[in-house]
Chain length 647, copies 2
Amino acid sequence: MGKACWIWYPGDFEIYHGMRQNFIREERGYGWPAYWHMDDWRKNLRFHTTVNTEKSISFTVYGNGTGHVLCDGKKYRLDREITLEEGNHDITVCIGNMTGLPAIFVEGDIESDPDLWTVDDFIETHPVGFSSLYQDKNVSVEEVPYVHKTIQPINKKMAESVQGNAGLLVEFDHVINGLVIIDTASDGFDVCYGESEAEALDEEWCYYKEEGYAKENDMQRRAFRYVFLPGVKEAEVSADDWVFPHDVKGSFQCSDEKMNRIYQTAVDTYLLCGELFHIDGIKRDRWIWSGDAYESYKVNPYLLFDKEIDKRTVRALRGNDLIRQHINTITDYSMIWVISVLEEYRMDGNKDFLKEQLMKLQTMMAFLMSQRDEEGFFVGREGDWIYLDWAEFDHEGPLCGEQIFFWETLLAMQEIYDILGIEDRSYEDEADMLREKIIFRFFDKDRGFIDSFVSGKNHVTRHANILAILFDFVESEMQEIILDKVLLNDEVPAITTPYFRFYELDALAKAGRLREVYDAILSYWGGMIEEGAVTFWEAYDPTETGNARYAMYGDPFGKSLCHAWGAGPIYLLGRYFLGVRPSSYGYETFEVEPHPELFKSLKADIPVNEGIVHIEINDTELTVTSTKEGGTLVYNGERIPIPVEAL
Amino acid sequence: MGKACWIWYPGDFEIYHGMRQNFIREERGYGWPAYWHMDDWRKNLRFHTTVNTEKSISFTVYGNGTGHVLCDGKKYRLDREITLEEGNHDITVCIGNMTGLPAIFVEGDIESDPDLWTVDDFIETHPVGFSSLYQDKNVSVEEVPYVHKTIQPINKKMAESVQGNAGLLVEFDHVINGLVIIDTASDGFDVCYGESEAEALDEEWCYYKEEGYAKENDMQRRAFRYVFLPGVKEAEVSADDWVFPHDVKGSFQCSDEKMNRIYQTAVDTYLLCGELFHIDGIKRDRWIWSGDAYESYKVNPYLLFDKEIDKRTVRALRGNDLIRQHINTITDYSMIWVISVLEEYRMDGNKDFLKEQLMKLQTMMAFLMSQRDEEGFFVGREGDWIYLDWAEFDHEGPLCGEQIFFWETLLAMQEIYDILGIEDRSYEDEADMLREKIIFRFFDKDRGFIDSFVSGKNHVTRHANILAILFDFVESEMQEIILDKVLLNDEVPAITTPYFRFYELDALAKAGRLREVYDAILSYWGGMIEEGAVTFWEAYDPTETGNARYAMYGDPFGKSLCHAWGAGPIYLLGRYFLGVRPSSYGYETFEVEPHPELFKSLKADIPVNEGIVHIEINDTELTVTSTKEGGTLVYNGERIPIPVEAL
């Protein structure tokens, strides 16, 4: 009893909601569905279970769709109690739903316990999909169970727009992702939204605008901090904030107030950008990107340890077989997808998800493997987007960074095979051969890794060199060359995107350059806070001032001011400064290697799967406890078991 | 100007509406989505055109979905007039729609003329799909443009149900497929529907029942001729009949009143069972079946010559690549699908459809070819449904009828290749080899074709023998053996389904046995009319009386009383008795070989693509005229050009 939940075809919940996520982007009155091929969820399903009972049993099947219940070949209605006599029974529920997600909920003496049911689409039979968010039959599987909060503004005043119109300007103390509620006698005015005050006051260029507001019209859920109502003098304005029910487990408080604000702002940013899925930003694009999500996966165990959000994102990104396009159209994002499946297992330690994804991993690997040149380097197909980062690469021939990603992908797949006990070492063999070739072709002792060996230009960018450290592609000697010649060499063009800046700081911290990373956090993220940021931005250039700070992609307010990859400090602080890391899958064992030399005092909680590690630093004292067994404190070359305290 | 219409991804309109069609089945309060895998229409599309203009132009794009218009890289809104200066322009419309059919309509100086636009799903680019039914931007592509007619009943009286309850019984003069309209002070009563009076009066077993009627509730569209309202004494009852806008071109009127009634009843049946698609029946199943549709394709040129309904049905049945299941799960229905594409071309003569279906034909052929045994006979895959007909076949080893279907399929594919100028004769070669093997293994001079050569039982059924004549599989000598030993031999079990009875009469008529066919029409279809049929039934057994006539599949009212395959007389009369047939693709040329010896007098119109052949028989005079060139009268061994008269 009590294990009933909505069940569906595995992965289809994510395809359904992922499509919705990728379709909600809007910009100045037009819609902008994500520009890639979208797979569909299945519309016609059969759920199946058997039961052997020694007494008569009763149960009710609720269905999201049209259909019936077939018990031992006899049809019954949905929504009505069904009674069966003692004995063996074969139960099939047929459900079709053209426009929504076919799903069932069974309660009574038989329940929709996911362990007891399978589902098929008339072709393949699988264990069912389910989510802890949908354990109540009254919660629609087509809706996100947001918590609604009414938020009052902190400021309301008359202001003048760029276009010279006076109107009411309303400010909230934090970023709202929800509806504007307006109580006024007026009608037919525009509602201009802004992540910044400047944006709200620009009637022409504000990203979101509701034209001709009328009370009875449905408003869209939108992200904003300011609202401007041109031509309106009197109105009660509040917000209906739709908050995703996150369970925040991590915390961080130290003697450096600036770092505390950075941490808290990163938390606010992260919680807003992760709901059913990790998305890039809440104003723009609101899409699910594999590369952006990869950085969110890294943050997750240090703040939420939410075992479902990563899985949902992985499933949504991947869609169905057969593969006809790279994930988000980007070759390296397909590779990151493979690496992400392993990343999720390292955190969660549950093999079910690996098994669920195995076939899709294999088809993805076959898709990738088929796109190598005669020498074995990954080159993609005609027209594929070899992205890596927004940077000036020497793109002639295979790109070095892409090869290192591919090497890591091969190793990830091998590790997944090893975990699942699949006796096939071909991915490791491929990786070994590829590594040799990469070093032979791309590594220059005096320069580090070059972009291309074909052009003869020996052009160096940071990217491949960062990945080489991050993925342990190089031994310490080569690592030192990379640090010296590239990462700590100001003559090599700086990384310009926060996306790759995350990788760079990750690599630097991994290489032990914690002081440099600490300072970088204070200057880069701290810089945004000094600019008034309440969430972290998609990009930040300290030299920009005024409205130029909000422009991106040639759009005056195109920059997203609440962007997931801005949450990196949570990961950097937890992973490197507090040094919490799993030493076996699922944190069965874990290590804590804190750096008290960086903090005068500190109190932090870091989740370790079902447990929490508590770290305290007070001048000369370091205290580390855990609510979970398996922890080892690594300090001054010593390895000390971490004491377990009750939760 | 004036060529604008809604445009979509080719085939997706049919997948969308086909799924809706296959999901509307209901039975005593539960839904019954068709029991096979359903492919999905695409949700995210880009429509594309280019224009070169010497002056400034304006146009408006309407979209069914969310999206925008991209002109030379700049985004514009939907629903707003866009103005472009003179010059070359590249126009892309991005449209996403999760729950509906993404489609656009463009009007102004640029129009959504299907000849000028392409569409892609981010993977493949194709010419757009469209339909003459959707040339008005205010008609939703998600709705069927029914004509609504309010119908008053012909009879209203108090009656008592099988369950002993008194109530109002309402009778209509024809079969309604629409809503019941009830005006009464009562509330909360049941509405029992019936194709027959007996069904409406059985509150428990009537197929359709609206429980607890309340005026404000939406009623479902249902097929019925009788309505019973238990417990209601006073009510105004009428019907909102939803009529598909057919353009009926054929007509038939002869001196035999019984035959006239049969023809008219067949027409009524056919018009009800064909809307967007050819379905089996309007009460049950309301699904799109490839085998049922095949017989409807045959009738179509003799009554409607509707060039769209067959194409829509073919597209809906086929869905998308890749193929994972036989059409309707039945192996021979997959074969019939291939044959149907050619059948449609024979009628229409437009190669565009063949080109559109070419890839799907090829994958279907590959799917079928892969399911042969080592000897080359088609055997399907483990678990496939080798149907052919509801009959007692000797199913050990390959089934003869299935092989003859497969042979016809190979030839159909070869003919399609020849039409398209594809220089590949392998299908014909395969067919020739297969034919030899079939005759060697299955033909018995003293018995005709046997079901199985494996079992040694030499079991004979009519089916393979019928198909052998129908598909010209055998020469005249073998045909005579088949007629003598099987088709006209009462010792061979009779065909029991109207589905295969259609094939049998087709074969008999083809073999020149017109008198037998004429008599069969009068006794079988005439028999139903004597039983009070206003549309033809799914099955008819003259020995059954009373309510037993309405039972089928173990269900007291399971039989469909308005079933498409009952419309066969339209085809048999037009094809054989009036002898109208194309002698080249698309009726470019056609022959008329009427049989005045069967009729005292007769007036008939038969469509011949864009023209009509008019045939009149008056005692000794036969008159044949046509509104279209290319006709040849074949009579008494003579070939006479048919005179052309103005329409």
